[in-house]
Symmetry: C2
Amino acid sequence: MSQTKYRIDALQYANWSENIFRQMREGEVDAVHVTIAYHENFRETVANIEQWNSFFERFPGLIFQGKTGDDVRLARETDRTAIFFGFQNPSPMEDDIRLLEILHALGARFMQLTYNNQSLLATGCYEKNDPGVTRMGREVIAEMNRIGLVVDMSHSAEGSTLEAIEISDRPIVITHANPAFWHPALRNKSNEVMQALGETGGMLGFSMYPHHLKNGSNCSLESFCEMIAAAAETMGIDHIGLGSDLCQDQPDSVVEWMRVGRWTKKVDYGEGSASNAGFPPMPNWFNDNRDFRNIEQGLLDVGFNVEDTSKIMGNNWLRFFDENFGSA
Amino acid sequence: MSQTKYRIDALQYANWSENIFRQMREGEVDAVHVTIAYHENFRETVANIEQWNSFFERFPGLIFQGKTGDDVRLARETDRTAIFFGFQNPSPMEDDIRLLEILHALGARFMQLTYNNQSLLATGCYEKNDPGVTRMGREVIAEMNRIGLVVDMSHSAEGSTLEAIEISDRPIVITHANPAFWHPALRNKSNEVMQALGETGGMLGFSMYPHHLKNGSNCSLESFCEMIAAAAETMGIDHIGLGSDLCQDQPDSVVEWMRVGRWTKKVDYGEGSASNAGFPPMPNWFNDNRDFRNIEQGLLDVGFNVEDTSKIMGNNWLRFFDENFGSA
């Protein structure tokens, strides 16, 4: 009996449309973790869920809301894509720890403790100083552990990330980033973080966002897959997956919202620059959800066997979903 | 094999406490529909759910949140009480039809279209004119039908109630009221409404709130149970249950909030009067959740057999929960 090979993307923030949902089906993507809040407060996040409910109602043959690992299996059985909600920032919970359970009941499964900046909970990767997980951050991690809302440190600072891994009773994740040893960007992660994640049952999702790639938009598929092989050596084949950070069809005003929110009146270019302010062009081997097959082939080409390729393409994430989306 | 006899109360709004939850267990109450909003807007209703989540976390051996009929069976098996959420007013959905699905995901299972006054959806029983279900009301009923949120017309005007029964594709309810033929109060219901409910698979829950009782607080158990026998003749033994309207341990400031909300700066006495403004004393045969056994005995004493008594005490509500809390 051969094991089913699932295909899961642990981060997308596209300008959602029927076209994209059809591409998910063409690409045989069983599950996608979608960002539904960058800087939105609670009520604005609820409005975003309403928008998703409208999509679920309009396209029931293509997508449905995922809440558990079994929903990924249901997606495969019914030829649809399960959509899992997450936040890149704790803004949806505002200053109210009990909103976490409300948001989990509405389907939230991942929440970043910070998005680039200092939050009430921890420090973002663009701050000068990193004082670590705050008093409230410790309370929030415990509550997230209790209810089955996964801590995501993709945009957090190094010290805060290591501290969160240590504090959390359940494994945490970095849904979308790459190893700094391959491309030393502020958003990419140290070997120490990667190893700590692997040792605690956590997960790293590899990003295809050009600012996280060696040579940016010109990164080769071979280089990307060789990086994954090296990461597997560093943190273990069972703790890696994909988190494309695909922002398909978004206007450049959206990357400005992601970077600026309501925290500054000035323009902040984040990973970009004044001369390269918008979304960068994607590498030619990953433009949309139909291109996961390229990555699968690329992994086989650099020497991964079928089983390990399947782990990276989705089976590791499915195991993680099974173990971490329910109450403790 | 004898059928399990469930005990369900379709309306309470007590000043919740461990004491009351323990009385529910002493009274062997398997499920209670609790009001979590009278005039609260969306965010205030979420805060009330947070308060309930706090109770669920503190008293997991006594209560848990109910969402389906099977949760009533689980309550019986685990010697606990399943708590189902409902609203006496559409205020939690504000002016946003998509909030209904959000609120259903958070556990809402009943919503009154009106509370005494005209709402955006229909007319309350205290208005002079009753123009019926509004344009938005029709849209809201269709959405409630789709998602499995039950229309409750307990505090609605006669014409609006009959129209809602006709418009709704799924059965509707009056969770807490009595027949007007027994006690002609504005809040009690005509034979026409009762018959229309029965013919469409709906339910009427009999209220033990003194303003709904013949002779008020001095109403006898025998009179109450004879009224139930007459109501069974009018609308059918399968369409009646209990909805006590128990407001145990509430200060009188709460009945003022229920009546006045934020819609007037003056005092409105509702079913009371200036000389009798507060909560009236309960009849001596029903003071708290331990007293359901009195009603069960009273029903047997007026001639109901064991099976029909069980239907009234909870089995009818359980069938209704099974059929009406899921998506269409």
